[in-house]
């Protein structure tokens, strides 16, 4: 059994794990910021809300839907020049960040919109009645009340990002998924395939458990 794994180059595995974590971490940060803003605008401009605006909502909604309907592999290729422009390179870990963010932010924005919609309208009305400004209502009431839903959304988005990073091998982004394809699949190194997939499964499992634990901690219902 020990001989089965003897050909694995652990330094490669460690490097790939680092790459995956790097891509995930950096793109997650940007995704949360952009997706949160986008989700808040989507929510506020939707019907019956504070900044109700049919046209802004429809336009944003359309952009989000388009970005979400393009398969990620294709998005990477389409965004090559954009990545080059923003990051200075279109390859490697930095080159993978823009497509990851542009794919995940609209996804997260929808999750944000949905969880803000769960906030009791009565509480928002009460806040307006006490004379809080719109910004204060968003910050002190809506985001606060939606925090467990938002956190669950972050967990889901993080895990989606992990699976997206697997495809960044196309542009040499590296990472565990890339390793699994190049060694495990293309060179028939079953051992590498098993180890990388196992690592990915563990990673996702840990993320989900951490997310759930935080949600439980913050839940007051």
């Amino acid at each position: 059994m020990s001989s089965f794994f003897q050909d694995i180059r652990w330094d490669q595995i460690i490097k790939a794990t680092k790459e995956t974590l790097m891509m995930m971490g950096m793109s997650l940060l940007l995704t949360i910021v952009i997706g949160l803003i986008l989700g808040i605008i989507l929510f506020l401009t939707s019907g019956g809300q504070m900044l109700h605006n049919k046209w802004i909502y429809r336009l944003l909604s359309l952009v989000v839907n388009i970005l979400r309907s393009v398969p990620f592999v294709i998005l990477i290729l389409v965004l090559l020049p954009v990545s080059k422009f923003i990051m200075g390179t279109s390859i490697g870990v930095p080159g993978a960040i823009p497509p990851l963010v542009i794919a995940a932010a609209p996804f997260f924005a929808r999750l944000v919109e949905a969880s803000l919609r769960e906030v009791d309208r009565g509480v928002i009305e009460a806040a307006a009645a006490m004379g809080l400004s719109k910004w204060m209502i968003v910050w002190h009431v809506i985001l606060r009340e939606a925090r467990t839903g938002l956190l669950a959304g972050v967990t889901i988005t993080t895990i989606t990002l992990v699976s997206y990073t697997a495809m960044s091998g196309v542009i040499g982004g590296g990472g565990l998924g890339d390793l699994a394809i190049r060694y495990g699949f293309q060179r028939f190194q079953l051992d590498v395939l098993i180890v990388t997939v196992a690592l990915l499964v563990i990673m996702v499992q840990l993320l989900q458990m951490a997310g759930d634990a935080l949600v439980r901690r913050l839940s007051r219902k």
């Binding site: 009565g122 006490m130 809080l132």
Partner: protein, 347 residues
């Protein structure tokens, strides 16, 4: 206290709604939620608006702090027409108009203390001052022991107390109550009504409440308006409206808490004259009728009657048949009127 004319203007009147209309357009149909609403509320009074669901009372209440903007009309609170204010000014004015809700509308993620502190985010108070103010409010509503609990750990009555404390945080001069006791059981309702009455008396805060329950009006209101399909159909002192309901809707509501004296179904062949006596205040406890009739040779029969209490005012209403000489019954009626009783001759 010395009052200068500018400061004193509008001291008596606090809220004035002038010809307020509110229409909703849904598809091609226009719904008139409010039509020709005129309402004046005096400083320091408890004013109740009663109506069945869908009568427009909730819309009316929300027009007072412009949570709903009227389609036309004027909404004057203090000496400011809210309809003329910009967003920032309106927000500032709203800080002085507290509001409580049927379903409390508390932050589920915040403790009792933090819920009460929420409206103070708009103030310039320091952290220490906020803490002191919240402590005061906790004492006022009797929740000091529960300050670190979350709303899900509280009973309905306790949640409404948090709502009241929150509404009072910025020292408002008006408190709007949106069916504040409708989600509570009878005992808790009594306690919350007592608290509102207490706040009105102690802090001098004017209260405008809406309800569909007549006993709420009867327990704490000074004046009442009755609404039906977007219009105010009757308004006045609670006792007057209560004793002489004019519209069927009003009679319905009155019958929730007391027998409406019904002169249509009295004895068919009375031997004497039937009169309706109404007395209010402490006279309800005096033997005026007995003393007056005793001084004559006439006698009387009580056909229907009720003696009760409205807010703090005792009142009574009797339908009495006077039997005796015409001249004597005339004298009795005159004398009862002289004592201050309201006498109307039914037959």
């Amino acid at each position: 206290m010395i009052c200068f004319s500018v400061a004193c203007r509008g001291v008596l009147l606090l809220i004035k709604l002038v010809d307020v209309h509110k229409d909703y357009v849904s598809g091609s149909a226009v719904v008139h939620a409010l039509s020709e609403v005129h309402l004046t509320i005096k400083r320091g009074e408890i004013f109740g608006v009663i109506g069945h669901s869908g009568a427009g009372k909730s819309t009316l209440l929300r027009c007072v702090n412009l949570l709903e903007r009227p389609s036309s009309g004027r909404v004057i609170v203090g000496d400011v027409d809210l309809m003329m204010l910009g967003e920032k000014e309106l927000q500032q004015r709203r800080q002085k108009i507290g509001m409580i809700f049927q379903h409390f509308n508390l932050l589920t993620t915040a403790t009792v203390r933090d819920n009460i502190a929420l409206p103070l985010k708009t103030s310039t108070l320091s952290k220490v001052q906020v803490r002191e103010r919240v402590t005061e409010l906790l004492e006022l509503v009797g929740l000091s022991a529960h300050e670190h609990k979350y709303p899900s750990q509280l009973s309905g009555g306790q949640k409404q107390r948090v709502g009241i404390a929150r509404a009072l945080a910025n020292h408002p001069d008006v408190l709007l109550c949106d069916e504040a006791t409708s989600a509570l059981d009878p005992q808790t309702t009594e306690a919350i009504l007592a608290l509102l009455k207490d706040i009105n008396a102690k802090l001098g805060i004017t209260i405008l409440l809406i309800t569909h329950e007549m006993h709420v009006i009867r327990a704490i209101c000074d004046r009442v308006a009755v609404m039906d399909s977007g219009r105010i159909i009757e308004q006045g002192d609670v006792l007057n409206v209560f004793l002489n309901p004019q519209h069927d809707t009003t009679k319905d509501f009155v019958s929730q808490v007391a027998d409406v004296l019904d002169t249509d179904r009295l004895a068919l062949h009375p031997q004497g004259r039937i009169i309706r006596l109404t007395y209010r205040g402490n006279m309800a406890y005096e033997p005026v009728l007995f003393d007056t009739v005793r001084s004559t040779t006439a006698s009387f029969v009580i056909l229907q009657g009720t003696v009760s209490r409205m807010k703090d005012t005792p009142y009574g209403q009797l339908i009495v048949e006077l039997r005796g000489e015409r001249a004597e019954t005339d004298r009795i009626i005159a004398e009862l009127r002289w004592h201050g009783l309201d006498v109307s001759i039914v037959q």
